[in-house]
Symmetry: D2
């Protein structure tokens, strides 16, 4: 039984970790960390857990946690994990960091886009980027995994085969992404009030969203060179789900069958990536509550472009589900353990 500690268990991603781990046969939560709710019963914060979780919320004491847990999930704001991690802790416990602290290899890029100083750059190199479908082998047994961002997971998995195989000019990529509101976090901000979000759609962070360099770096590895692309996130009045619509210019003419074969080459055996039937567009409702990423594409012969679409649940494959998938890989468990939930509809 793997003993799990969660720092930041009362955010939306933290709570989703709890939901998933409660259904995981080989994991047991031993620490519900939450600086804001110390000593409060967890179910008093999240009523769904009444009579399911009896534990109280604890502080963020990573030293003590390292003694008690086999793995720590940090579902916390940027900078916290980097400020807490050290050699002693990493010698005792595995860390899956759901923040951005260890995702970007170039610390100056991190510091520029996030506007904060990195407190433990010495661990960046060691950290593995936990996009399981791409870096599966590297994750196994690692002690520090950088769990990818929600937008980035969806963007990279949607585009990876095309970039890897040179099908599109990587510098022509435009990613137009749409996210449900749980992605904005559980902080008490006027902008996230029901009446401000409901009946509205808007772009935000245009040309400046922090997931941009993360996508560029990972897709850059795929094609073997640095790339620049456009990424625009939008806020959608729904709880969960990310839809990515991406555009790229073909490097030459391709048929549907050729592109389909390329996607199948990479994803045919991937349990959590579903390449949809021809002409079926991914929809966020079909992945809700599950760890699936639904992907498809449409060729536009008129313009010589391909339109790629991907959908996932930002709290599952975009956060907590992928974190559990990483935990499974780290500890040598079946990768899908605890994650074989059919999406819930409606």
């Amino acid at each position: 039984m793997i003993k799990v500690g969660i720092i930041g268990s009362t955010g939306y991603a933290g709570q989703e970790l709890v939901r998933l781990l409660l259904g995981h046969k080989e994991a047991e939560i031993v620490w519900y960390g939450s600086r804001s709710y110390i000593d409060k019963k967890y179910y008093e914060v999240f009523g769904n857990m009444f009579e399911i979780v009896d534990a109280k919320c604890l502080d963020d004491n990573m030293e003590e946690l390292a003694e008690r847990a086999d793995v720590i999930f940090t579902a916390t704001p940027q900078g916290l994990c980097a400020s807490l991690v050290n050699e002693e802790i990493l010698s005792k416990v595995k860390i899956v960091d759901l923040s951005a602290d260890f995702r970007i290899k170039d610390v100056s890029v991190y510091e520029k886009w996030y506007g904060i100083e990195h407190k433990s750059p010495e661990y960046i190199k060691e950290a593995v980027y936990g996009l399981c479908e791409i870096n599966r082998e590297d994750i196994k047994g690692k002690r520090l995994v950088a769990n990818p961002g929600c937008y980035t997971t969806c963007s990279i998995l949607s585009l990876y085969p095309l970039v890897k195989e040179g099908v599109i000019d990587p510098n022509s990529i435009i990613i137009d992404a749409k996210s449900g509101t749980s992605g904005a976090g559980r902080g008490a901000k006027i902008n996230n009030l029901y009446c401000e979000v409901n009946e509205n759609i808007k772009a935000y962070g245009v040309t400046s969203h922090r997931h941009t360099p993360e996508i560029e770096e990972q897709l850059g590895y795929a094609c073997g060179k640095e790339i620049l692309l456009n990424f625009t996130p939008h806020l959608v009045p729904m709880n969960r789900g990310i839809l990515v619509t991406a555009y790229g210019n073909f490097t030459k003419q391709y048929t549907y069958e050729e592109i389909k074969a390329i996607y199948d080459k990479y994803y045919k055996d991937e349990h959590f990536v579903r390449v949809l039937d021809k002409d079926v567009c991914p929809e966020t409702r079909w992945v809700e509550g599950s760890n699936y990423v639904d992907v498809n594409f449409k060729i536009d012969e008129r313009t010589g472009r391909i339109v790629v679409m991907g959908a996932l649940d930002n709290l599952v494959k975009g956060a907590a589900g992928q974190a559990v998938q990483n935990m499974n890989l780290i500890f040598g468990l079946p990768e899908t353990m605890g994650l074989e939930l059919a999406p819930m509809f409606p």
Copy 2:
């Protein structure tokens, strides 16, 4: 392994049955019945089931189904189950009917409120009312179970201890209920279009909703006499969930502790009924996706009334989940099997 056939598998309750049974270790779906989608792949109707269910939709042939299945769930409009059932079928297969056909013992009451002729009244007496928490023992081994309505399950479980113990005058009961829109079904009606339901709340079926006599009959058994009450359903712009707010006049003065003791007497050991902590109001979000019913009450000393609240997921405890619970009871399986899902939030 119990072989399950579903008639009406492409309605919302039918699809929820599929989701739940996919996670049930002792059940296997062998028949996805759907008159509207015959020969279509099930996942083409419900994209969440892509790469999970490969079966095609079949017709409503109950004779053939009786040969192939151990249990049939009929998630169909009123009247269909009654028109298909017969001795030969019942000798071969168990039936859990999610429609109202066998819920009401007095056939004239059924025919009056539903406005249709009952096609097999001879089985009404045999059928057991499948409200598991009340009729658990009677359900075991039965071949015909009438799965209760969504509003009725919530209303009855919320009020049962009070009526049974004579705490309130049963003829003073007023039930004001609110339901998510999946309760209105998946038929293509203008009234259920997104723009007609969104940003709106309305009452409907005022003084004439069909769940009224069902609630009156069952609560009447609890207090041993015929009762009349008011029941008003409302349509709420959300997918899932029923909230019942019920009012009753005390027969004498009671303290919080006394009423709490009465609820605990009936529900302390019930896995799926959660009596909340003092002053915590049930909310539909805390039961979404699960088989729980959350119940609580508030005493109004000023008016001598009690306000009772209950919340459940209309597609789970209000339909598919309770149907699986009934199946478990019929076949002697642990009652919670396949139903131990934590509610999903947000």
Copy 3:
């Protein structure tokens, strides 16, 4: 041209006042008060007002406001208006208070339900309760009007004819009310975040909501005696709208025609109260953005009760619209001026 000052112009009710007054031919806003946004352009807070309102937000200086304005609307938390008002101010300017400070005649009742000390009880007697349809004549020319609460306006107008005419036992009244989320205000609270409100319905303030004594007092005037009733508000995932479903025991048998005649007696000539056709239930979507209250009823002969329903837009007839209606009455303008907007759907 009436010069209008608004204190609390950046709350939802305050902003709705701005929208309505911009379309009012005889009114002009001279002061956009907002303690939280002083010196910020009003349109930077509410982007809908870009190129429509160029003014900056000002503080809550009521002395200065009294010099500049003919009427002040206080759309502020409870207690603020009572703490600011004095003889000098009232000698210069009319006040329409959208808070509860002057609604309840018995100061001890106010202090008990609101839990705060009343800072200017000497003006309670003078203040007129601004429910225009009931107190029209008293409002004309007054200098201090207590604008009714949103729930109370809907509850009282729905029930008034029945209570006034002795059709129901006033102590049997149960009011089950449902409100959109703008009623919860624009404060940055976790409870009002999109993901906390969306896909959920809950009761709150059960047996203890502050609008209870206000309804009891006003309906008590109608029947000439003190009454106690139950009032339960619920939060609905939509922006605007209140629906009231109320129940009362008949004092004797009535026909539909008799009750209809009673409603017509009071509302036939009321522009903003629409008594719907037989069997048509009020829905909040049909009044959205307008000053209408839609009312109807259904007789339940089985139980001897009447079910009364009322719907209004909580920000218009439940707040800003009624405030403008009061302003029109105070200044002798046509009562409907600036309020003849057809409801917007969808």
Copy 4:
């Protein structure tokens, strides 16, 4: 007083026409056409119009309508207007067609994208494309105006200055659009049911949506050559609103001030086009219920692209509002008459 007839008055755009015309001082509706609801009171279909509109729905008899009305709005499916129009009718009455029948000058393009035969191609040349800000002078006095599509109005107005001034390569344009659900019409389709749309976002009509050639044609006029672009619409769970996010490659380097000056050149004096302050992103909530289009842009120096955003209310500037604006132009009325409504929030 202009006498107005509406064909298709019980769709969402038709109903919005009614709402707007009720507030128009120089127009009067004399014909509520609706094939589906003949002889039914209009308010029985749209309860918001109770006690406001007393008329009954009439059929689509254009001959009779031409006798009675000065202008006819056809808010009907594609093909209907083209099948009804003829010289006699056009000699008696002005027509503003809200369908696509007369928008596209090349009839073969129309027939290819719409998949129907055009029944009166002889009037295509005469018809003027009613995008008021671009074709204002041409519209005045015309007898046949093709009211632009919702997506197209938003797309064209957002991009027009850039294309006209040669700022971007028109063949690099990618338009990613998001629409509320009223854009999908009021037909009873499963796909548009509340539970199918709510909590979901999806693309549809990818590379094949019918508004594509309309946008290409109009932007082609702006730059004086044929262009091909990508247009992808998405369905968003909200009632109203379209947001366009468009991308184009700069033809050379530009500063913010240069681009701002270009937008101001075209829109500074346009009442209904609001170019927002620097870094403010258009949001659909800020235009809801109004005829405004909010536009802004962001330069991405890293990639050499510009990101353009536009927001409008699909039922107002995207349909009924623009139709009224066209009516005003045809009849020589002030262009903003009946359209000076402040957007409603929330």
